[in-house]
């Protein structure tokens, strides 16, 4: 029989187990396996749930997801579109349902190229200003801009995050273009209005089994391809690429469209179901002002050692989110390092405990061995009925006892010491280490809501500052030259614009002071 691991290893080595495979089975199975692999190829993208799983597992991706979510929402809140200039071309006919639908549903598949991640959301919207996104089994988010409220239900964690938007300007609330296609709509509208944007006709192609015509829209930071049914002109597939975040190209593909169908109001209910832990946050959704731009420039300078953004456009928001995520990465790395150290300490203590445990076992076994002859003699004594025999055994028992008592005492003493050590080990350090370990692990498992709260605190000023600039009319004649300026430079003009009806310009300097300056004193 074996006594320890090494013995058992030797015994197993000597066993002559026939485990030779059958080549015929191997060949048949290979064929079968590859055939199934081929069949699963087409279903892959829609079935994959790795994006969200990875996001939930990875703190860094959580941050990025939180930032992107906020960016999307803020763009949604402020970019409520200007007048639509229909050009009367086929392009306008194709995009009309997207721009004018009262209700719509679709699927959005979001892909992140670097991590080969993919996730499909089910989306629906209903005018005025309501939208719902669902990742089945994971989360549901519902936004109602008229009520100024966003509810995110995290289904597995039974957590609800309620964001209350304060001071939404009335003109935004009444706009009839607030829906999940905000980003796509924004691009289409920009394509129709802006000189920086090009729209290219892609001709006819087979898309999802239907003959489709396509257009490609390109603007400085976004690209969108729209494919529509050649006969009905209804969109079939829209693919939009977002700016790179954390060296990752993120694309969203919209498919399975339905337009102007009846959607039950309950789908957009902002009521949090029973049993959910609710966390409420406030969100300033008022129209951004000049001071928001100054606040944004200050935050940027503080984050980048006295620099200003290279430009003031939508990409600036993404650039900052990347800076912020990197900053958080450093924090997480520190925590991760601390956690690894704790784990190491915990493992060492477990090893020590195990060693003590083994020592305890050995001592007990030795004690049993010493006491065994006495035990046997005692049993013999009990069984024996003859007095003489009893006396003989008793004498032997006394001698045996004398012989072993010293050894037993020593062993008992050692046992007591080991027990004491085991007790100390488990009561003090181990518990302490375990607690630290839990704390560190908790930090790394920080929930999405905390990340969003943090994202809100850091990203919101940036978004509001950029939105202020983006909303300035063409007549404001705004200019930005902050790329080369240093924070604190009282002579450097970094931004100027002409408020509506004013004869002078508002000028922001490198020290973020503001002055009214006549046009002739500004650089040409």
């Amino acid at each position: 029989m074996f006594k320890n691991e090494t013995d058992l290893e030797k015994i197993v080595d000597r066993l002559n187990i026939d485990a030779a495979p059958n080549p015929e089975h191997s060949e048949n199975l290979r064929r079968q396996m590859l055939s199934i692999f081929d069949k699963t190829g087409e279903q892959h993208i829609s079935q994959s749930r790795r994006l969200w799983r990875t996001i939930l597992k990875s703190p860094i991706l959580k941050l990025a997801a939180a930032a992107i979510l906020l960016i999307a929402l803020v763009i949604g809140t402020y970019r409520l579109a200007g007048p639509i200039k229909m050009t009367g071309t086929a392009f306008a006919d194709i995009v009309r349902p997207i721009l004018t639908a009262q209700t719509a549903t679709c699927k959005i598949t979001i892909d992140a190229d670097r991590d080969q991640l993919s996730e499909t959301l089910e989306c629906m919207f209903a005018e005025p200003g309501r939208m719902r996104q669902e990742l089945p089994g994971k989360y549901i988010s519902i936004i109602d801009l008229r009520q100024g409220k966003l509810v995110i239900l995290m289904l597995e964690e039974k957590k609800a995050m309620v964001m209350e938007m304060e001071s939404i300007p009335d003109e935004y609330k009444d706009k009839s273009q607030t829906n999940m296609f905000l980003e796509v709509r924004r691009q289409i509208q920009q394509a129709q209005q802006s000189e920086d944007t090009s729209v290219e006709f892609l001709g006819e192609q087979e898309i999802d089994g239907r003959t489709a015509i396509g257009y490609h829209i390109e603007e400085p930071f976004f690209e969108t391809t729209i494919w529509a049914d050649a006969k009905t002109l209804l969109p079939i597939r829209i693919k939009t690429s977002m700016p790179t975040v954390m060296n990752q190209q993120i694309t969203a593909v919209f498919t399975d469209f339905t337009f102007d169908i009846e959607l039950d109001d309950s789908l957009f209910s902002l009521e949090v179901p029973e049993g959910y832990a609710v966390e409420t946050m406030q969100w300033d959704a008022s129209r951004p002002q000049e001071e928001d731009l100054i606040k944004m420039l200050r935050l940027w300078a503080e984050t980048t050692d006295g620099k200003f953004p290279s430009a003031l456009n939508m990409n600036t928001i993404y650039e900052f989110s990347e800076l912020w995520v990197k900053e958080r990465t450093v924090e997480f790395d520190k925590q991760r390092e601390a956690l690894d150290k704790q784990r190491e300490a915990f493992d060492k203590q477990q090893e020590r405990s195990q060693h003590l445990f083994e020592e305890y076992n050995k001592l007990s076994e030795r004690l049993d061995e010493i006491q065994l002859p006495q035990e046997q003699l005692f049993q013999e004594y009990k069984k024996s009925s003859e007095m003489k025999e009893k006396q003989r055994i008793l004498k032997q028992l006394i001698e045996e006892n004398k012989k072993s008592s010293k050894q037993s005492d020593e062993l008992n003493q050692q046992l007591e010491q080991v027990m004491q050590q085991m007790k100390e080990e488990s009561q003090k350090e181990l518990r302490h280490t375990e607690t630290k370990l839990w704390q560190a692990e908790d930090f790394l498992k920080e929930g999405l809501s905390e990340q969003i709260q943090e994202a809100q605190n850091r990203m919101m000023p940036i978004m509001r500052g950029i939105t202020f600039v983006q909303e300035l009319p063409d007549e404001s004649d705004w200019h930005y030259t902050g790329k080369e300026a240093a924070f604190g430079d009282t002579d450097a003009l970094i931004f100027w614009y002409k408020p509506q009806g004013s004869l002078t310009y508002r000028v922001i300097y490198g020290d973020l002071s503001v002055k009214d300056v006549p046009p002739e004193k500004l650089p040409h």
Partner: protein
């Protein structure tokens, strides 16, 4: 020179074999060839019977075919660990059915050698050892198979079973005693 280059190319290709296997049948085929034998062997150790082991091995690789596109591992070691984890689950699922477990026990009992005539305790043969292992909890059975039959290091076993390395060591230490007792009852004839 050409031979060296070919080896270098092969090495580079091997490095991303797992990544390519997510999308390329050829790469998955190569991984299969490299790992089929060991998974089959593991199944024989867990299930005693070669025919049953073939069935379970098939289930393992068909599951791989269905799930490889979503597999997040990067290296071949990750892939091997994943295979072992699937194989362990499938084997345990097979054994979990009482009737199947009984069938395995009967087969093992029938193959047991008769005891020798010497006074030394007989060294356990494969059927006796298997019978004793089958008396452990399924997870512990997997642990014993991975450690003593597959000779995997504690670290890899911990990765496969998704537990701490220290936990593997402690558990092994504890179940060794149980296995010894079970084996004694098997050798004594109390199957």
């Amino acid at each position: 020179m050409v031979g060296v280059m070919a080896k270098v190319v092969e090495r580079i290709e091997d490095d991303d074999l797992v990544l390519r296997a997510r999308t390329q049948a050829e790469a998955l085929g190569r991984l299969y060839e490299r790992h089929y034998d060991r998974i089959f062997r593991f199944c024989v150790y867990r299930l005693f019977d070669k025919e049953i082991a073939e069935d379970v091995t098939s289930t393992v690789f068909l599951e791989v075919a269905r799930k490889i596109r979503g597999f997040a591992g990067q290296t071949e070691q990750d892939f091997a660990n994943w295979l072992y984890a699937i194989a362990a689950n499938q084997a345990n699922a097979y054994i979990r059915k009482t009737s199947r477990r009984k069938k395995l026990l009967i087969r093992a009992a029938r193959s047991m050698q008769t005891s020798n005539d010497t006074d030394d305790p007989p060294e356990p043969d494969w059927p006796s050892l298997y019978t004793a292992i089958l008396k452990l909890k399924p997870k512990h059975q997997t642990l014993v198979t991975l450690r003593f039959f597959e000779n995997l290091p504690h670290e890899q076993i911990a990765q496969i079973l998704n537990v701490r390395q220290a936990a593997v060591r402690v558990t092994l230490h504890r179940i060794l005693g149980k296995l010894r007792r079970h084996l004694q009852t098997v050798v004594d004839g109390d199957v």
